[in-house]
Subunit: 887 residues, 2 copies
Amino acid sequence: MDKKIYRFEDGNAKQKHLLGGKGAGLAAMTQMGLPVPPGFTITTRVCREYYEKGRELPPDVWDTVLSEIKVLEDKLNKVFGSKDNPLLLSVRSGAPLSMPGMMDTILNLGLNDNTVEGLAKLTANDRFAWDSYRRFLQSFGKVVLDVPGDLFEEAITHQKALLGIKDDSSLASSDLKELVKKFKKIINENSKIPFPEDSYLQLKYCIKAVFESWNGQRAIEYRRIYNIPETLGTAVNIMVMVFGNMGMDSATGVAFTRDPSTGEKKFFGEFLPNAQGEDVVAGIRTPHNLELLARDMPQVYSELLKIAQILENTNRDMQDIEFTIEKGKLFMLQTRVGKRTPIAAIKIAVDMVNEKIITKDEAVLRVTCEEIEKVLHPSIDPRSKVQVIAKGLPASPGAAVGEVVFDADKAVELVKEGHKIILVRPETTPDDVHGIYASQGVLTSRGGMTSHAAVVTRGMGKPCIVGCEEMKIDLYKRVFTVGDISVYEGDIITIEGGEGKVILGEAPLVMPELGEDFKKLLQYADEFRRLRVHANADTPEDAVKAREFGAQGIGLARTEHMFLGPDRVPIVQEMIMAPNNEERNKALLKLLKVQREDFIGILKAMDSLPVTIRLLDPPLHEFLPAVEDLSEEIRHLKAQNPGEEEIKAKEILLKKAIDLKEFNPMLGWRGCRLGIVLPEIYEMQVRAIFEAAAYLVEEGNNPIVEVMHPLVGIEKEMDFLSELTHKIARETMETEGVNLNYKVGTMIEIPRAALIADKLAEKAEFFSFGTNDLTQMTFGFSRDDAERKFIPYYLEHNILENNPFEVLDFEGVGKLMELAVKLGKNVRSNMKIGICGEHGGNPKSVEFCHRIGLDYVSCSPFRVPIARFAAAQAFLKEKTQEVSSSV
Amino acid sequence: MDKKIYRFEDGNAKQKHLLGGKGAGLAAMTQMGLPVPPGFTITTRVCREYYEKGRELPPDVWDTVLSEIKVLEDKLNKVFGSKDNPLLLSVRSGAPLSMPGMMDTILNLGLNDNTVEGLAKLTANDRFAWDSYRRFLQSFGKVVLDVPGDLFEEAITHQKALLGIKDDSSLASSDLKELVKKFKKIINENSKIPFPEDSYLQLKYCIKAVFESWNGQRAIEYRRIYNIPETLGTAVNIMVMVFGNMGMDSATGVAFTRDPSTGEKKFFGEFLPNAQGEDVVAGIRTPHNLELLARDMPQVYSELLKIAQILENTNRDMQDIEFTIEKGKLFMLQTRVGKRTPIAAIKIAVDMVNEKIITKDEAVLRVTCEEIEKVLHPSIDPRSKVQVIAKGLPASPGAAVGEVVFDADKAVELVKEGHKIILVRPETTPDDVHGIYASQGVLTSRGGMTSHAAVVTRGMGKPCIVGCEEMKIDLYKRVFTVGDISVYEGDIITIEGGEGKVILGEAPLVMPELGEDFKKLLQYADEFRRLRVHANADTPEDAVKAREFGAQGIGLARTEHMFLGPDRVPIVQEMIMAPNNEERNKALLKLLKVQREDFIGILKAMDSLPVTIRLLDPPLHEFLPAVEDLSEEIRHLKAQNPGEEEIKAKEILLKKAIDLKEFNPMLGWRGCRLGIVLPEIYEMQVRAIFEAAAYLVEEGNNPIVEVMHPLVGIEKEMDFLSELTHKIARETMETEGVNLNYKVGTMIEIPRAALIADKLAEKAEFFSFGTNDLTQMTFGFSRDDAERKFIPYYLEHNILENNPFEVLDFEGVGKLMELAVKLGKNVRSNMKIGICGEHGGNPKSVEFCHRIGLDYVSCSPFRVPIARFAAAQAFLKEKTQEVSSSV
């Protein structure tokens, strides 16, 4: 039969699943001969049994608890429940994984109206005994018997008021006796059962309370979110009490083997003399720095220091230690891996490699991608109190502070004068781009996660909140209101784009520090990963930035952004409105010239690295004003009765806009469908690309070009596009007399493209998964609509585990990707395959891409470090699995 | 070495691929001892060699031709090219499949300025000889030398005008001599080479011309459309001339062994005395009925009749025969399977089964699905001349004639008075449904193939043209204009919905006759098919119709159509606008009552057959007025300054409409996404279904219910929906105390649903492929947009072979379907799987569904016979393949 209860001396550090984290730590310390109060652990197995038996403690378990108490009594020469010589216990929960919502520690268990007297006599400290009893009643009442904690606090406050004193420590033992009476009354009036005077009954209730807390609301919620199996269960640790509150030679404290904020290698901690654990946490008395302990109890301090060092070395990670000093003697109550800030995590990992405590691959696995991500964005200081006035869609992460400004021109103006601003708009258009550039962040009342503001700010790595519909903007009065709060232009707000929070006033920000350690850790990561990491960048500036962040190429240069500059839109409109081929070609020639310059810039910035240029993707109507706006404008113009000509021109524009309008533009006339029906547009773009490359070759550079066709789903589309591209490449090479290094490939973003990837691979030399569109079509979700209408509900009600636009859907979209990789590589074994959807920067998705054999991922420049890191972790995890499965 | 030239006596009927259809027929007749003029066939192999050798006749072939001519000379005791005793030949092309664009027959080859004299002497018929020569020059010039045919016609007309005569037959031999001179001049002036006097050179040019015609524009186009391999090649038939123009004891004619129009078993044909083949075709002289031949040449007639009978029996199909009578002697020039009208095809197939000439399965394979389809719709008499004034999208096939009416109410009114009307609208809405019912057909200027008008009319089997944008409707003046043509209300038009043609006035229609033969043939088909055929029907009336057409169940009953009646829409709007649950439930209760009645009707009509009911699918905004219309209305209201209340109500409606508006409604909040976020709607529908079923059971009926959830793509959606359905089923069965025969299943219309079909199969008891949406999402095509913007271009430029909304895309969409079938049946081996998209009635798609193992197809009632037939053909074709592959 499996052992259900382990004495600390019988367990070991590896038994986390059985003993819980706390129990395993205690067992390990006991085995190492460190001073741990004696005790035992009821295993997680019992927790499962408890629930299987209908929430009853199994009788054999209780019998063993009783016999183990005997053992403790013998060890300590005290008796549990004895009036004269009482043994007191602490009870702590201990799940295999640290989880919020689990039961707190219960100290001083065993006290009752009889034993309190014994304790007083034994310690010759009346006040200590009654204080301990008061504490026990309070925590037992609150935690085990579900009595509202406020009632106890109120009673203390009332008592102090009556006495005219301020501090708890001023309460005399007689006052404490009075409080004990009141506490009991509170318990008996507010609990289903009266306070159990019997120490054994106290213990039994307490063990059951730990098990019950495993299925508390918060614990269940937490497990659901983090996918922790319910069957794991929690252990219960029962330990002999040691007292930090027996006088000034006693104390209790916590310590970290390194600074958890900065990661600095420095013993760090706090303690309180003459106190019990909860006093440190409660924050009523300010704890002292450990340096004071070194001064006051140098021997104890040096023992603690030595033990801390041993624990860190044994556990090979920074430790978070709890200790108590009872009358000058040190006891260790807990050791565990210490929580740390992202920056500390990075520093500790790198330092430990230098100190030869861990290897480089361990260092990479020890920092999470979320930590890397957090380090890359400023964030709101979590200790600060802020006033959240509205919430919108979290379009681009990070925090930003600035003055509210309602138009782009004014934004630019103010920024020139040295102001920091947040651009607030109903929604943004290409005309606002200069304002977005100038701003610290953007806030819009309309639009979804793929709206203009969202896409542009993500590309720039600026915080952004969109679709904040509770915010009503009055552009004329230059104010926005949320409920009864009005925010005028010039007022300061803070936005938190990772959570979509709009905050009134300036919240204190914690700025990212991309120090040497960060770079070092990324270097380690680069040693392990197999996936290349490219960046999505549309401008030479972005390309330079991407390279700085370690991008090994551009995986997606969107050419439509080049169509959208304020100097370009009129030419594009000219092209669209051209009444004949001649006029259209005139406009295209103008575009050819500017596009060529764009390509020269971007190819030069990425010299010798591949640049994947995607040809025009959006539907043409995106370059025209909206039908509604135009109609409105014409109505206004007519009311003002101006020249016929002006109205006529607008009406022609309106006619075209109506003609181009679509029911479902996502699935409409865009991408290569445009390039095939109006081949002169793609011909112009391809020509601009190759002419740019030829120019650079002549200048002595080494451009590597990949021409990528969007929205391909039919074999003959690829045939046509590949022929068009090669033809112009040949022409350019002939005319310019140079050789060009180029490839022709396709996005895989239409489900059908994945299904016929073998056919496409006949002509396509590379594939790039456009997982944004692929997800939309595979799910049948229009992102703009779905994220507003039903995805939130789906997530809340657990229909979906993740938003598939954030975390790649392995089961559905991923299956198509796997199929496409297989089909593609079957036909063309050296086929280069990558991903350029937003998922390319999402760690879980990067891991999936590694697993199915992609060659690279591409993401926004700011996510390149995360992707580099995630790629390395994916490689290392796979290696670990291979090792463990080969054992 | 393979034989390149076959004498007629050496070939046989099975050598169609080698000898072409004509050559094989001539060989077979020769072998049967029928009177065929001697000759030989140059095989299709030579055609391939001709192109391989760079368009040169291989020398060995020419050598064989020369030696075969010798053989003919010996047989006939004439000499090719001889001035005194000339042998004349005919040359005909003959591909293995009949193809338009191939070279016509050249008769009288061998004539020149010398041989014509010989012919005249030999026949003692000067006029005949010069007429033959004239004919030869004309056809050789036109066909072989590419001289425009008009020039010859003009010359004849000019000549006749000079002579003051009308008929060609009035031309004397001197006139013909004059014409021959002119013709030669025309040829020499308009051809690259002069007319070859050498008979052998004439023959060589003629053979080459046949081979060249294989790669003529029209032939290439035809092969592309019908997927005929280019390598097939054409044969060339060279035959000794026999002359039907040697006097009144000579004649030429064509005959059918059965009536090609009606199928009646009756020898049928036409002939012209003293004529050559082209005279019959040219239509200058009216041919005589064969009965006249029976009277004038009874012996020849009876010989012909006997031969016809032999040919039909041998070939086991109705034959189309060409013959010539030369001086009282009958010669057979060609026999082939005769073309026939769809009605004739059916009658002949059934008759031949009765006559024990063919088996039932042969009968089914002999009629095409297209023929079955044509028989089911009235069509415009192909012999009539009509004025097509506009073209739109062919939304629903068939032809209809009626008075133009511009609104539904007036339509109903006029129909009551006995008028037949065509409803003409900018587009239709649910408010127009009574008008559509009343009309003969519908014509709209806006909307795509899935617009309201298109879907509703297809469901009703009425002709419909949508998106006819060149038609400008003025609803106030009650007129529409196309260019400078105005059509007023009351004017009569004809629409042809299969081709999208709008015709001015009343075109003569050919009405379908669903005779006994048709029913018989379908009975044969039913004996062979494995696929069940269900119908898509939303009303009891449609259900009754579907049953009449042989449907074995309802595969898709759309409940939204039940939401759309003019009495329902206000309740639905009430439900949508409900400010709270209570109000919403009130509205839902009203809907429950009416839906229950709907379901009782439809389930009763299909008693004992399965009825698959799909829960609400479209987005809610489809039940509200369009945002644009509402805004316009409010603007108008405000201008008229009415009561505040009215405006306010409209403004609330507008707010909701804006709120519900989506960027891509196709991919938005619809289908089960509605049913999950607002479960009360689906609960109401499911309750209505089960209450209806329970009522019917109590009444002694046997309803079989299948509840189908639309747009499922996530496992947990299916879990939720299945639980909801079973729960209400259990509740209803308990309350009503009856047992219900029901299943819960899902549409497979989202690509992801197909990819995770194994997961869905855990809960879904049946799958139904919604190939309309599945095609849209797999291709990334919004049908409404794609069919207007780029699919026509794609089809025209061969990027797409078929419109995937008409013919199922086997390669992409089909691959998903196959996957889903496999995954689904793996988990649930008795899983019932069908298709309910429009493809369910498309023969090619039905064949695919058969092949991948579906259990049933479902289509509109009017297509049920086609699907039954297509399913049988699919089965028979598969069987044939199995047999041939096992040989």
